[in-house]
């Protein structure tokens, strides 16, 4: 079993707001992130897949194919978008880095034919990232 990680970047805006909370609660829990005008990040996404090395190609996965899947399923939907307003998962869910990692996992799951999805890592900042392994 070999693990392969592909990295890419996207930029998006978001804000944190739960309509079930009062204005004060939103402010207290989410702080600066509760500003309804939103703010943005340069996100870095690392997708790790695992599988046996194909003895003929020497590949775990065809990187070109993985890149195309990432572009189609993730980057086209998220890059230079407002997550709260333009990405269906976040019309009713807060686009925290945790939820973003889960959403990206769900977008990729089932799309890889050869290798198995192992981990989605999303950096919101160089000093803050979330890992999701598909665990319930």
């Amino acid at each position: 079993m070999v693990y392969l990680t592909r990295k890419c970047e996207f930029s998006a805006s978001h804000y944190y707001h739960n309509p079930e909370f009062s204005t004060e609660e939103n402010q207290r829990i989410f702080g600066k992130c509760a500003n309804l005008n939103g703010h943005g990040h340069n996100y870095t996404l690392e997708v790790t897949v695992k599988g046996d090395v194909d003895p003929k190609t020497g590949f775990v996965v065809d990187l070109k194919e993985l890149k195309e899947i990432l572009n189609r399923e993730v980057l086209d939907a998220l890059d230079h978008r407002h997550l709260n307003k333009e990405v269906p998962e976040f019309l009713r869910q807060i686009p925290t880095t945790e939820n973003l990692a889960i959403a990206i996992w769900n977008r990729l799951q089932g799309k890889l034919h050869v290798a198995k999805l192992h981990r989605v890592r999303v950096y919101e900042l160089p000093d803050l990232f979330v890992d999701f392994y598909g665990e319930a």
Binding site: N18, E20, Q93, T96, E98, N99, L128, F129, V130, D131
Partner: protein, 140 residues
């Protein structure tokens, strides 16, 4: 859904690697430059990984403000800009980064309970890093 969240912090400290149970020449042979009597310092980078269910109301494993608060109060205020050898945590052990990782993990395990502490990762320089997960195997 269970997610892992990692936050990175920086602190600077000095230390000297020296074991009282070893002779001068044994200390020199074991620790080399790190045994210099006057000590030396590092810029440490600490990564703290916590895990838990993502709260459906907040979308968070834990509030980052709480994690930052605990790490600043319990770790950074204790170890930033100090001589590690002079700290009581190292009264009986050598302040190697291995031991520092264990000490930090054990402090946070006690003092931060808003999410499950998975591991701490400590970079002593850009060339070496240490991870401690309370004795558990690391997740790949």
């Amino acid at each position: 859904m269970k997610a892992h969240l990692t936050r990175r912090y920086l602190f600077s400290a000095s230390h000297r690697l020296h074991c009282d149970g070893l002779s001068e020449s044994e200390n020199q042979a074991t620790y080399g430059k790190c045994n210099n009597p006057h000590g030396h310092g590092h810029n440490y980078a600490l990564e703290v990984t916590v895990s838990g269910q993502v709260n459906p109301q907040t979308g968070m494993v834990c509030n980052l403000v709480d994690l930052d608060g605990a790490v600043h109060r319990e770790v950074l205020e204790r170890f930033d800009h100090v001589n590690l050898n002079a700290r009581r945590e190292f009264a009986a052990t050598v302040p190697t980064t291995e031991n520092l990782s264990e000490v930090i993990f054990n402090i946070l395990k006690q003092r931060f309970t808003a999410a499950h502490l998975e591991e701490v990762r400590l970079e002593e320089t850009m060339m070496n890093s240490f991870e401690y997960a309370g004795g558990a195997e690391l997740r790949v």
